[in-house]
């Protein structure tokens, strides 16, 4: 079973990607954005919990009206150099007030976690083989911050209100 960090705890993933569970038997499915958009009407009728996985070039505005139906959005990172996901997350949390699970997935690593948590990510699906105990320590990298942000799971002390 896939392990991941959710709200600062190591847990077993309760979600399945669509290709892992083609029948939707698990009742919590993550669809690629393109497929979701093509089959949207059908999925809006579906009784299970629904998530989508988006890539770095996908626009958040296109999802705005569907957010109440989505319980999870997984944002794909291609590596350390990929930084669009931080803005996508900020827009989802702060502009569209998305309250569901926001998952960072792909080639992510421990040293991004503090920034990601500040942008509103609450779940971290690391590449296989990552030491999740080590990754958990990243939430404590900084106890202070200068910026206001969509902090989830971290509460750095700030000077201003």
């Amino acid at each position: 079973m896939r392990q991941l960090i959710k709200q600062r705890e190591i847990v077993t993933d309760e979600w399945r990607y669509a290709d892992e569970d083609p029948q939707g038997a698990h009742r919590a499915l993550i669809l690629p954005l393109a497929r979701y958009q093509t089959e949207r009407e059908q999925w809006l009728q579906w009784g299970g919990r629904l998530g989508v996985r988006i890539g770095p070039t996908d626009k958040m505005g296109a999802l705005q009206n569907d957010l109440p139906r989505l319980a999870l959005i997984a944002i794909e990172f291609g590596g350390l150099a990929e930084g669009r996901g931080y803005s996508q997350a900020t827009i989802l949390r702060r502009r569209y007030h998305f309250t569901g699970e926001l998952r960072a997935v792909g080639k992510i690593q421990r040293d991004q976690v503090f920034y990601m948590a500040r942008c509103g990510f609450d779940t971290f699906e690391f590449p296989e083989g990552t030491d999740l105990e080590v990754a958990l320590t990243a939430f404590n990298d900084f106890s202070v911050a200068y910026q206001s942000a969509a902090d989830v799971g971290v509460a750095p002390q700030r000077r201003a209100g």
């Binding site: 930084g83 996508q88 502009r95 900084f142």
Partner: protein
């Protein structure tokens, strides 16, 4: 000068601990070379030709003497006894040991310094006019704004993994002295007709392999909107900037691709959409920061005739290396880091210690690094100029060449840098030897010569009155010459390449020929760069490439 409170201090201390852990994981083989690279770069640590290079942040060029003494100590204990000031007003060490870098950063943190975001694809050190606070023509001191921008940009959760590096300069005088049009964002403090303070915002300037002059996208931005607007620019860039090609990833390429007018629309739309949660300008916090930049306790003095009865050498130095101050009885003093005995911007540990003592004695314990790779004592009593000059002479920091041809900017080039195509220090030596005659340099007047060892343009060659770019031609070092660049303000311009590159041995000769053309064509009191503009590059080109016997 800004002083850290417990929050600032905790942040740099925790950064040191974080980097110590990252270094430990790398050395233990638990972090790949690639992953560590991205992390060490965020702390200014490069791996160069011979050794690592560590770049320390000097926010807007302002230094306290205890910080300079720490630079000296680190240079002695962890490097080869010297440091190098850069065009971003920072200091670089060229020989630290990778495993000792966490200890160096801990020492820096003990004097409220760090190397955060001196490299990597994030917001870099915010630079300013080195005459900030003392310039006669100043509208507003840019340094409190630089400091509040520094804090906002430090470990920014959303903008720490941008497509490419991001440089901001702030100026507070109508006369730009920070090359602000060649920055990703340039901010000009000004007052509107109602007398209110605001910013003119320029975006998309830069050098490198695609040099571009920045475009104004907002004529007057009230301070209350500063961070909301900066975040709108950065969010548009973060989402829309190219990430597929490192050479096309700077914001200037995006601005050029969509056009400045369209870019402005994108920023305005993003600004509007994010109003609900964009950072609110905190007046009280800004007042707190500004309180650290009050003028020092100037004495009530009159201007003096400080050169009357003094020796010629002092007069010359006074004329060349000191500048007017807004307070009567004071002068701003350059410490020339352009002695012919050392590469531009280099300073030894012994000089640093002595400079710190002198700044304590003569300039309120503060000094500045300039983007021209010199140092500045901003607040020297005119009556102290003579003893200060004597002391600086003894330290080889009084070469009276500020603003002249030999006040060259040069990157470290092939001697140290792994990106370089050609050496710069040999060429600096060659030019220093050829143009030893100070009277000739004074006759030539103001000339800014800027040299880079590769097209990344750390030496700003595009915006030198004379620019020199080192290129590699089948393994040999050659040099391309540009004329007519201007770094600052409304006249900001890129130089024009005069023709094929010249061989290494011929660079000083080519410069000499160029100067001869200027001397032959100049009108009364006309600056070199103005003559270039007036007569064009053709006469210079004809002379530089003429056979030797015709070129005299």
């Amino acid at each position: 000068m800004y002083r850290y409170d417990p929050i600032d201090q905790r942040l740099v201390d925790e950064r040191v601990a974080q980097f110590r852990d990252q270094t430990r994981r790398f050395l233990a083989g638990k972090l790949s070379e690639d992953d560590f690279r991205s992390l060490r770069l965020r702390n200014g640590l490069y791996i160069q030709r011979h050794a690592p290079m560590l770049r320390i942040s000097v926010p807007y060029g302002l230094l306290a003497t205890r910080q300079v003494r720490m630079f000296a100590r680190i240079a002695r204990e962890y490097d080869k006894g010297f440091g190098h000031f850069t065009t971003r007003q920072n200091l670089q060490y060229n020989w630290p040991k990778l495993e000792q870098v966490p200890d160096i950063l801990a020492l820096l943190a003990s004097v409220q310094m760090h190397a955060i975001q001196t490299s990597g694809n994030c917001v870099r050190n915010v630079t300013a006019d080195h005459f900030a606070g003392v310039a006669v023509d100043e509208v507003e001191d840019p340094r409190p704004w630089c400091e509040i921008i520094r804090q906002w940009a430090t470990l920014h959760p959303e903008f720490s993994y941008l497509p490419r590096k991001f440089k901001i300069a702030v100026t507070g005088s109508p006369q730009d002295r920070a090359a602000s049009k060649f920055h990703d964002i340039g901010l000009h403090l000004l007052r509107n007709e109602a007398g209110e303070l605001g910013f003119e915002v320029m975006v998309g300037g830069g050098l490198g392999r695609t040099p571009i002059v920045g475009h104004v996208i907002r004529e007057f931005l009230p301070p209350r909107d500063l961070f909301a607007y900066l975040e709108a620019i950065l969010r548009v860039y973060n989402l829309e900037g190219r990430r597929d090609n490192i050479h096309k990833a700077r914001i200037k390429i995006l601005v050029k691709a969509v056009g400045p007018a369209k870019f402005r629309e994108l920023v305005d739309a993003e600004w509007e959409a994010s109003k609900e949660y964009a950072p609110v300008f905190d007046e009280a916090e800004f007042a707190r920061i500004k309180s650290f930049f009050q003028p020092p306790a100037y004495e009530t003095l009159g201007d003096e005739d400080v050169i009357a009865g003094r020796d010629n050498a002092f007069r010359t130095w006074y004329q060349r290396n000191t500048r007017r101050h807004k307070v009567a009885g004071y002068r701003a003093v350059f410490l020339s880091l352009k002695s012919p005995k050392r590469p531009p911007g280099d300073i030894t540990a012994e000089q640093m210690d002595a400079v710190a003592d002198l700044a304590d004695k003569y300039s309120f314990g503060l000094l500045r690094s300039t983007h021209d790779q010199n140092l500045l004592f901003a607040d020297v009593r005119q009556r102290d100029l003579y003893p200060l000059w004597q002391a600086l002479q003894a330290l080889d920091l009084a070469t009276p060449n500020i603003g002249t041809l030999t006040d060259m900017i040069a990157c470290p080039g092939l001697d140290l840098c792994s990106l370089a195509n050609a050496g710069t220090y040999d060429v600096v030596d060659q030019i220093n030897k050829r143009f030893e005659d100070l009277d000739y340099l004074y006759d030539l007047g103001e000339i800014q010569l800027k040299m880079s060892g590769c097209m990344n343009a750390c030496g700003h060659h595009h915006i030198g009155h004379i620019g020199i770019l080192g290129v590699d031609k089948s393994g040999e070092e050659w040099y391309q010459i540009t004329l007519g660049g201007r770094p600052h303000g409304k006249d900001a311009a890129l130089g024009t390449v005069i023709g094929p590159s010249v061989a290494k041995a011929d660079v000083a000769e080519a410069i000499d020929r160029i100067l001869n053309v200027y001397v032959a064509h100049r009108e009364d009191g006309e600056l070199f760069v103005d003559t270039v503009d007036r007569i064009g590059i053709a006469p210079f080109k004809a002379r530089v490439y003429a056979p030797t016997h015709q070129a005299a």
